[in-house]
């Protein structure tokens, strides 16, 4: 399934604000507030787990710069950076994105949540279940340098026609 981002990028209908090797930043066609930007990787990743570590870091840096740009140019009072990872989290489309939303007075968007009161038991169970997993978080994947393309003049024998294929020719040789 092609996402609207990929399609829009190919057709050129996306209002791209910034483009890099693997990341694009564009203005959301259905914004929450004026200046709502979307930081997306060019390749389609569905969820956060699929994205390599270094790409996530780079997207975060760009999201930060986008938020400062919006803050300074649009005159926003604040910015939000939100990631929806998964359908229960509110992910709208199947292309992973980072939303950068500048905030103004009377947006119509309240990002407040009602804090819940949890008992000690629940907190301890959470702690016990989560702690061993977070201990593993440490080493991150780094960006691999691009392979240098080597141009060989030697043709692949499988691609040659029967008349040219030297591997087949040698079978016809009579010793």
């Amino acid at each position: 399934m092609i996402s609207f981002i990929e399609q829009g990028y190919k057709e050129g209908t996306l209002p791209i604000v910034y483009e890099e090797d693997e990341i694009i930043v564009f203005l959301d066609p259905k914004p929450v507030s004026p200046g709502h930007m979307v930081v997306a990787p060019k390749q389609k990743y569905t969820i956060l787990e699929e994205i390599p570590d270094w790409l996530m870091g780079r997207m975060g840096e760009i999201a930060n710069k986008a938020s400062t740009a919006a803050f300074e140019t649009m005159g926003a009072k604040g910015t939000n950076i939100i990631v929806h990872n998964g359908i229960p989290a509110g992910q709208d489309n199947n292309h992973f994105v980072i939303n950068v939303i500048p905030r103004f007075d009377n947006d119509g968007q309240d990002l407040f949540w009602a804090p819940k009161q949890l008992s000690e038991e629940e907190m301890s169970t959470i702690e016990l279940s989560l702690k061993p997993q977070t201990d593993i978080v440490g080493e991150f994947e780094k960006k691999k340098p691009k392979d240098i393309p080597i141009e060989d003049d030697i043709p692949d024998p499988e691609e040659l026609d029967e008349g040219e294929n030297y591997m087949l020719k040698q079978l016809d040789r009579i010793p």
Binding site: V17, K30, D110
Partner: protein, 363 residues
């Protein structure tokens, strides 16, 4: 969200204006609860610790497992953080989100950053919220209320140069109508041919000489070096000894030496005896015939028997002529005595080996 403790002493406005930025910072850190959490003065449930970040469970969470990623340094807003720290922060956030999915069996996560009070920032210390989500948990706050877009091109034109400037790059000159993926291929840069490498300190390479060199011009005013001086032997060599003097000296000491010399050169001895000193015991030849009567007989032998080139051995007659230089003759007489001894030795060894081998094999 968190009830702040009672602040005993607050500086007045005058004192604030007079304080240096460092002192203001210290004051901020005093009042900031999260800085205390980082230091460990306040009890907290630490889930994750790093050299620049701390992960703490929120006391009043939106969902059980709500984690706060706090920076150890006191930053108020995300733009204050340097870029490598932001990179690290997002990578850690990804890892923690994955840990939540595994550990808490969540079905989704929300990552939330608030810069500014209007955005929902409640504490003066920067933090990132990571909230695990499950189906039907009832959180509606993260669902975005989308509206229709207005004046997207205008906004793009205002934001684009600023964003490129912030990231340190120049914006492209293409207009909106051009399709991005159909950019022209850049012209191939043909590299310059490699220059001849020359290490520093060496004189520059001279161009190669012509295949047919021009004839040398006559040099006037310089005389060629004298030949005699070139032919003279160098003075360092030792004096060549005079061999004739040494030979005369040796002859005086040893008279036999003179006789051998004369016999080899063909000179006859005045005494009439054979000049070659040969012992009669070594000879096994038959007694020689009478020298007077048999002088003619050797001449009358039939041709097939006679050996005209070689004269029969007559010890009393003159020795056969030998046109051989002195030194070699001396050496050849001595040599035949030595080699037979050498030949005898290996033969004995070979026979001994064979006997041993035979014993080993057969018995």
């Amino acid at each position: 969200m968190e009830g702040q403790p009672a602040q005993p002493q607050q500086p007045t406005a005058e004192e604030l204006a007079q304080m240096s930025p460092e002192q203001i910072k210290e004051l901020q850190m005093k009042n900031c609860i999260f800085c205390h959490i980082v230091k460990g003065n306040v009890q907290s449930k630490k889930m994750f610790e790093d050299d620049r970040l701390i992960g703490v469970l929120d006391i009043n969470p939106a969902n059980p497992g709500h984690l706060l990623l706090i920076s150890k340094e006191h930053y108020m807003v995300l733009p204050q953080m340097p870029d490598p720290d932001i990179n690290h922060l997002f990578m850690v956030a990804k890892g923690i989100s994955h840990a939540m999915l595994k550990g808490l069996k969540a079905q989704g996560t929300n990552i939330f950053i608030a810069n500014g009070a209007q955005a929902g920032q409640k504490a003066p210390h920067f933090m990132m919220h990571i909230i695990p989500r499950k189906d039907g948990d009832g959180l509606q706050c993260f669902n975005l209320n989308r509206k229709s877009a207005k004046d997207l091109l205008k906004m793009k034109e205002t934001i684009q140069p600023k964003l490129y400037a912030l990231l340190g790059k120049t914006p492209p000159q293409d207009s909106v109508e051009s399709i991005p993926h159909e950019k022209p291929i850049e012209d191939l840069d043909i590299p310059e041919p490699p220059k001849p490498f020359r290490k520093e300190g060496f004189p520059p390479l001279e161009p190669p000489p012509d295949p047919i060199p021009p004839p040398p011009a006559e040099i006037e005013g310089i005389d060629p070096p004298p030949l005699q001086a070139a032919m003279e032997p160098p003075p360092d060599l030792p004096d060549v000894p005079d061999f004739d003097e040494i030979a005369a000296h040796l002859e005086q000491e040893n008279p036999l030496r003179r006789q051998m010399k004369d016999s080899l050169t063909g000179k006859k001895d005045k005494s009439g005896k054979a000049s070659i000193p040969v012992l009669e015991e070594e000879l096994e030849l038959p007694p020689p015939p009478e020298p007077e009567t048999e002088d003619a007989e050797p001449e009358e032998l039939p041709e097939h028997l006679s050996a005209p080139e070689h004269e029969q051995f007559v010890p009393q007659k003159a020795a056969p002529k030998m046109a051989v230089p002195k030194k070699k003759a001396v050496k050849t007489k001595k040599k035949p005595k030595i080699p037979p001894k050498k030949k005898a030795v290996p033969k004995k060894d070979e026979s001994a080996n064979l006997d041993d081998i035979a014993q080993v094999l057969f018995g």
